[in-house]
Every structure is written in C-alpha cells, then in structure tokens.
C-alpha cells in the first residue's frame, strides 16, 4: 500500500465533509418551494406579476393577503372545524386503540391471532376505496354536514391498535401480575400501570393522527358540503377556486393551512419522527 493509514482517514473525512455540503445544498433546494410560497404570501398583486420575478416581497409586514382571505371566506370557521374533527377523532381512536392494544398485548383469550390479523388486514385497505359506501351510509343516518360525519372514518385507526400492542408487549408482565395479585381490575391496571408507561407511544400516535386528520381531503370534501362545514383543506380549495390566478392570496391561504402542522413539526419533531418510524417498522 502506498497510501498510509492517516492519509486514508483524512481522505475519508474530506469525503464526508464534501458529502455533507452536497446534502445541505440539496436539502435547501427541497425547502425552496416552501420558502417561495411564504415569500409570495407577503407580496402584493402587482408584485407577483412583475417580470423578471423578484425574490423578496417589498414588505414583510404586508398582511393584506391574510386580511382579505379572512374577509372573503370564513377561514376561522374552517380552522375551528378542522380542530373539532381532529379532537373528536383523537379522543375516540386513542381510547379504542389503547383498549384493544392492551387486550392483544397482555390478556389471553381465544381467537386472539385471528382478531389481530383481521385488524391488521383492515390497516392495508386505503380509506379512499370506501368513501362511496361510507358516504351513502352517512346520508342514510343523516350525518352529512355534521361533525360526527366528518370524523366518522377517523373514529378508529387500526394503526393505533397495532402501535399500542407493539409498545405494550415490551412492558414486563411482572408489573401487571403484581397489580393483579393486589386485586386491581384490568381497567385500573390499564389506567394506573400501563398508561404512564406508554407516554412516548401516546405522544407519537396523537401527533401522527392529528397530521392525518388535518391533511385529509377527499372525505371532508364529500361529507362537508355546506360552507360552514368545510375543513381547512376543503376551504383552501374553495378559496383558490374563487380567486383563481390571484397567487398572492392563494399563497397566503396555503401558508396558513400548513402553519399548525409546521408548528407541531418544529416543536415536537422528535415525537413526530418517532411516530412515523414506529408506524413504519411493523413486523
């Protein structure tokens, strides 16, 4: 060998640094569309039609687009709707999934494997193929244009059952046996012993579920037909249809629709990433 060891190591470090810079450049390119839409949201109408295009808006304090947006359409209501739907579905799906996850992880009963496979197979069916029959069901019981109707497909998530089962399986049986010997009921065990131990999984699930709920489109489009039942995504599309080609306004609405998720992403990135990884690493 001509190259001695330290040189080789040095070369490796150079290579890794070079790679790091390349990855930073490409990473920045990934952000360009997001940056561009934020910049556009602060521009005036003449500014967006200027050629050659300008990067920065003349003033970052130009909130006219946001003001006009709220004046034209009830975006406050859309936000309220999205949050209400997310909260209803979060409470329901978390409670149901924790119960089932506990049963699968820590209680022995017949046909357990069969039931688990049933729920897992449901996990593989995309909700989109069920929109039509679900809509007709909602129409028959009169839940169209209602919060329960909007939340309906989200009241239960098979993914949650899977996630909590995986997480609870890792809890040693001795904890539970000790409580059982003390005469605690299963509900009490679940509440006092298990819940404090599964906080990371709970946090991850809640964030992922919130993200899915917030970003949904086809179902709220179909079920929330009146304007006062629009969610943020549906409202965004309705608004953009109304202000076609007014890209400063559309950009403002787009930015505002992303902000809640972006906040969660920035503040709770760890849990979000953890949840997605957990959702991804199923056996």
């Amino acid at each position: 060998m001509i190259i001695s060891f330290p040189d080789k190591k040095k070369r490796r470090i150079y290579k890794e640094n070079f790679l790091y810079i390349i990855m930073m450049i490409f990473g920045f390119l990934m952000l360009v569309p997001l940056i561009w839409v934020v910049l556009t949201a602060f521009k005036t109408e003449p500014e967006i039609a200027k050629l050659p295009i300008t990067w920065l808006p003349e003033s970052f304090l130009n909130f006219d687009n946001f003001v006009q947006m709220f004046a034209e359409q009830p975006f406050g209501r859309y936000f309220f709707n999205s949050i209400t739907v997310a909260v209803i579905s979060l409470i329901s799906s978390t409670a149901i999934a924790v119960l089932a996850g506990y049963a699968f992880a820590k209680i022995e009963f017949k046909f357990k494997e069969f039931f688990f496979l049933l729920i897992l197979s449901v996990f593989m069916i995309p909700a989109e193929v069920m929109v039509l029959p679900k809509y007709l069901m909602m129409a028959q019981i009169g839940w169209v244009n209602s919060y329960l109707g909007l939340a309906f497909p989200d009241l239960f998530t098979a993914f949650g059952v899977y996630l909590f089962r995986q997480f609870m399986s890792g809890i040693p049986d001795t904890y539970i046996d000790a409580a059982r010997i003390d005469g605690a009921s299963e509900i009490k065990i679940l509440w006092h012993v298990i819940l404090p131990l599964i906080k990371p999984a709970l946090a991850a699930f809640i964030i992922i579920k919130f993200m899915f709920s917030w970003n949904q489109f086809l179902w709220p489009l179909v079920i929330g037909q009146k304007q006062d039942m629009f969610t943020v995504t549906v409202g965004l599309v309705a608004f953009s249809g109304q202000w076609y080609n007014q890209w400063n306004l559309i950009a403002a609405a787009t930015v505002l629709s992303i902000i809640p998720m972006l906040l969660i992403f920035v503040l709770l990135q760890k849990h979000l990433v953890q949840g997605l990884v957990m959702s991804g690493t199923k056996g």
Binding site: L51, E128, V129, L136, V277, G280, T281, K282
Partner: protein, 303 residues
C-alpha cells in the same frame, strides 16, 4: 338467579373473567372494523350489481354496470393515467429516498445533521392540497420560479401543468417532493438498525463498498423497502388531491386519475352504481399489487 347470570357471563375463575375482559376491550375495535370496512365493502359490492336512484330503492341489474364501466374509455384512460403516474413517481421517490438516507447515514450524527434531515422531511407535513398549490405557483409558465430558472440557463420555458404530455410528469414532481422525506425516514431507521459489525466483517473479507451495499445493506433493509414500496404504490394509485387542486383533471382530462374519475362519477354525475364498480376495481388492483409485493419482495433474511 341474577347471581347465576352474572357468573355465567363473567366466568367463574379469574382467568375466565380476564379473557372476557379481553373480548370486552376488543369490542369497540371490532365494532368499528365492521362499521368501517365490512359493511361498506358489502354495500359497495351490492351497489355494483344495482341500478342506483336518489329516491327509489336499489334495483338488481346483474353485471350491467360492470359492462358499462369496463367498456367505457373514461375508466380505462383514468386507470392508465394513474398507472403511468405510479410508474413514474414511485421508483424515483424510493430511489432518491434511498440515496438521501444512505448519504445522511454516511455523514452520521454531527453538528447540524438533524437540521439537514429536517430539511428533507419538512414537505411531508404539508397536506397534498397545499402541495398542489405550492407547486402550481412554482410551475406557472409566466411567473413561476421554475421557468425563471430555465431562462437563467438559456433553456426554453416549459408549459408544465398546461401541457397534455407534461402534466402527469409535473404532478409526479410534486408527489416525489412531498413523499421523499417519509421514505427517507423509514429507510434511515432501517439503516441505523444494521449492526456495524457486518460491514466490519465484510471489509476484513475484502469486500468493496458496492459489495457490502448489495450483500448487506439491501437485504437487511428489505423489510423497510417492502414497506415503503407498499405504502408508496398505494398512495400513488389513489392520488386525488394533486390533480383535483392543481389541474382539476385538465388539460383536456389529461390528469384525470382513477380516484378523480370515481369522485366525479359518484358526486358530480350522480352515478353511484358505476362509481361503485370503479371503486371495487381500485380495491382489487391495490389488493393484487400489495399481495404481489409481499410475495416477491418479502423474504425472511437470517444472518
């Protein structure tokens, strides 16, 4: 008497009682599985064999609606467009996600590496509707950023979403951008789970980088790769928001995907029966693709 009923329901022994509790805990889930999947599936199948009216009850018509749908050009065009979109988007998304994941893994944890990872991941949190508008503005032929960049390099401007032949590739670009981060994250979690001992052993045996990638990384990443493939193909086959918000299926229906076809048939043309047939077709396609992937790609690997 009451006590007898109580005992026969709850069981005599502690063990029996506990297993009853198990069923009880499972009950809400099974209720929703029935309500969300079993009943709708049956309903959809019944609907596909019926004539649907707003007021009148369903009327059995056998395979009539199947014939209507399967002989219509609209259905096949929507299907082939969707498949084209999927074939275009999924391999590029997964390959680039794998490259990014490998590069970030190679760089390893260092100052700012979490931030770089977040840069790739950030688009994932945006809804597909928002993604559609972000990119429609980027793609704008007159004032869009992309044509401006092309101009900078003295290249001819592209019509992007306004051109029949370019609209699907343009939608693919949006899709790849918004999905790359998720796949990267899953693949990275797989990469970090591989023990460095394997690479060390391979290096001692004289394997080069390419060999270790091919014989260690890929096989041990199999589980994550299968998952990413299954998820991405499913997501691409049911793409709806992107064409709906960005192009409304245009120009001249060139971006009307299968789910858009289903949506329009059902909710704009009020032909629920035909939409049910198309939904069923999508369902079967997704089932077949998922099953095939499990069959061909899932291998249990023991080291």
């Amino acid at each position: 008497m009451l006590k007898f009923l109580w005992i026969s329901f709850w069981g005599k022994s502690v063990k029996q009682r506990r297993s009853r509790m198990g069923y009880l805990f499972l009950l809400p889930s099974l209720f929703f599985v029935t309500l969300h999947f079993i009943i709708p599936t049956i309903y959809n199948i019944v609907l596909s064999f019926s004539e649907w009216h707003i007021i009148r009850p369903l009327e059995f018509v056998g395979f009539e609606k199947y014939i209507d749908v399967l002989t219509s050009d609209e259905f096949w065009e929507a299907l082939s467009r969707t498949l084209y979109f999927t074939l275009l988007s999924v391999p590029i998304t997964i390959t680039s996600a794998l490259i990014v994941a490998l590069a970030l893994y190679r760089i390893g944890p260092r100052k700012g590496s979490a931030l770089v990872r977040a840069m790739y991941f950030a688009p994932v949190v945006a809804s597909l509707t928002a993604v559609a508008y972000i990119w429609t503005w980027m793609f704008n032929p007159a004032y869009g950023l992309l044509n401006e960049i092309l101009k900078f390099f003295y290249l001819a401007p592209i019509q992007w979403l306004n051109d029949i032949n370019q609209v699907i590739p343009s939608l693919s670009i949006m899709y790849i951008w918004s999905r790359l981060g998720f796949d990267m994250l899953i693949l990275m979690s797989g990469l970090t789970a591989i023990s460095p001992d394997y690479y060390e052993a391979a290096r001692i045996d004289g394997a080069n980088r390419w060999h270790s990638f091919w014989n260690i990384t890929l096989p041990l990443l199999n589980q994550q790769l299968v998952l990413v493939c299954v998820v991405e193909i499913m997501m691409a086959l049911k793409v709806f928001e992107l064409p709906y918000a960005a192009t409304n299926g245009g120009p001249v229906n060139a971006s009307r995907t299968l789910v858009m076809h289903i949506y329009e048939t059902a909710f704009q043309w009020n032909r629920m029966d035909e939409a049910a047939v198309a939904s069923l077709a999508l369902f079967v396609i997704i089932l077949i693709v998922t099953a095939l992937q499990h069959f061909f790609l899932s291998r249990k690997i023991h080291y």
